[in-house]
Symmetry: C2
Subunit: 343 residues, 2 copies
């Protein structure tokens, strides 16, 4: 079908080795040979076959990134950060979407391992990292993204989600809110569990200080706008006395959905009836019906750092071993918790 180095070599009247040199180390070849070869390449429409190249090299020059949800701007920001860093290294980033499904995650991991990817960045589902450990041990550098782990054998870059949860709920408590609802799920996501843990800590600390405060959990199946809307409708449907006075959503997508449900019939006023805070501080948060308070994570920096760690891991041997980087989240206050007081 398509031309190979051999065809190019024949047409240019040189050997295949020389063609390869022209492609990879042109400075080792005399200028006019280079030119002849390039002419042959153009004429034949030759395109390097990456499969053969990789087969020989043993590894691919791409790195795979598996995220929980491509529809979530937080992850696309992470991806962009990763791309930026990888570009500088001549690496390509290929994006896979696990969609919070273990099966899809596994499918992508298998694909990436079969492709002998130069490395894998992943926001893993669940707590079982044994597959990833195997992948890593078989020689594919692996970095955990947006996920802390006590397993020090992994490189990881994450944000302190417990601190983030605490930050959110302390803010709500400081505003005088006492009946907090945490909306999020599934509990197989570490992010959800940690943010809830932080939230609970904050409530318990308040109680220990004599403040009457409670937290309830409203579970969702995933972290999407749609699930947020359902949860919001459920809350709205309660008798008014059973409403919480503040909601902490596990991410901004949920929060946006909650906001849609709350504002749709005008029954629930935000923040007067219920204060609302999300997590991630995606671009859309500030443009919401009621601009959304949120916990900001340095998303692009996370992607950037993940590639950094990956490169370090790939370089291998040189000292340090796996590293865990943890960033601190930041509270962003907008109208969904404090109303118009600020502006």
């Amino acid at each position: 079908m398509s031309a190979s180095v051999k065809d190019v070599a024949a047409k240019a009247g040189v050997s295949v080795g020389t063609v390869s040199n022209v492609l990879n180390r042109p400075e080792k070849v005399s200028p006019d040979t280079v030119e002849r070869v390039h002419a042959a390449i153009d004429e034949l429409g030759f395109v390097r076959n990456d499969a053969a190249r990789q087969l020989r090299a043993g590894r691919s020059r791409s790195i795979g990134l598996i995220v929980l949800d491509v529809g979530n701007p937080f992850f696309t920001d992470v991806a962009r950060g990763a791309e930026d860093r990888a570009d500088g290294e001549g690496l390509s980033v290929l994006l896979g979407n696990s969609d919070e499904s273990i099966d899809r995650e596994r499918a992508y991991l298998d694909l990436f391992e079969e492709q002998r990817m130069g490395g894998v960045l992943i926001t893993p589902l669940g707590d079982d990292l044994s597959r990833l450990a195997r992948l890593r041990d078989r020689g594919t550098p692996t970095v955990l993204v947006d996920r802390q782990t006590d397993d020090a054998s992994f490189s990881s870059v994450a944000v302190d989600d417990v601190a983030g949860g605490r930050l959110a709920v302390e803010h709500l408590l400081a505003l005088g809110r006492r009946r907090i609802a945490f909306v999020g799920g599934p509990s197989s996501l570490r992010q959800v569990v940690d943010r809830l843990a932080g939230a609970t800590e904050a409530v318990e600390a308040a109680v220990a200080n004599g403040t009457e405060a409670t937290i309830e959990v409203v579970a969702t199946d995933s972290l999407t706008v749609l699930q947020g809307r359902s949860a919001g409708e459920a809350l709205r449907g309660r008798s008014r006395g059973d409403w919480p006075d503040a909601v902490f959503a596990a991410n901004d997508l949920l929060a946006m959905g909650l906001l849609q449900a709350f504002s749709m019939l005008g029954t629930v006023r935000v923040p007067e009836d219920i204060a609302l805070i999300g997590y991630d501080d995606i671009d859309f948060a500030s443009a919401a019906v009621v601009p959304l308070s949120s916990i900001r994570q340095p998303s692009a920096l996370i992607g950037h750092t993940a590639v950094e760690l990956l490169l370090r891991e790939a370089a291998g041997d040189s000292g340090s071993g796996p590293q865990q980087v943890v960033f601190q989240p930041e509270l962003v206050v907008r109208q969904s918790t404090v109303g118009l007081d600020l502006s």
Copy 2:
């Protein structure tokens, strides 16, 4: 480093051909041989080397999707649609982000061609399709996504953007708005040009019917929230008499940015001062400060259909040749144009 079929064959006491058969046509191998081979595979941690496989096969079992902006929910919806359809065929979709940059688009095209991808779906930049024609002619099935073309040699799936633009502006005119601003750019994007063309048509038709109406263009560098905000600030900064009474944004991201700028200081009321309509009807549109009127495109269906056309093209020979599918857009009316009258 890692085990190959040869190692597996040795350990299981069979030939490499048999191992290959176990992997690809297990029904042709006796049950206990299958079992012995599987045992060997597990023991050695053997993982198929996709590069070798592809080299032999000549083509990859992945298809590449190049979009203008992964941060735009419209495109992630398209991607999801494509994945769903591809899954059923045992194909993987790998996502590349051109970020409206010709260079990045070219880099991904080169990468995908070197990988001998099973096919490429692309939302191309600019008007020069010659590179794509070459790619296609060299044997990589190629489908244009979200892009109409008069070049009937390409398969494509698109939405009638001219009709969409007309729809949007006819809606604004019907509401009594007369001084329309179109916000969008760059003009290298066909989507932008077509939507503007439709908008202009609608205005001209109105004028021909004796209605005094004008349209001005506010150019942006890209279709992002940030650019929308800048454009919004520019409009807001004008003396009040120079405000348009309606804005048609080339997509929802821009519209969200405009909305942020308009509502930030409360100077511009939407829709009282300026009615605002976007394009794409992304999930966030309905949760905006003022729920956003928009032009809906069947995003997942677009992705789905694109893969469908790709498969047809790959099957080749069988009759029909390239196909152009065009969907019709749909007007979605919300408060950003009509205010609270509806609810």
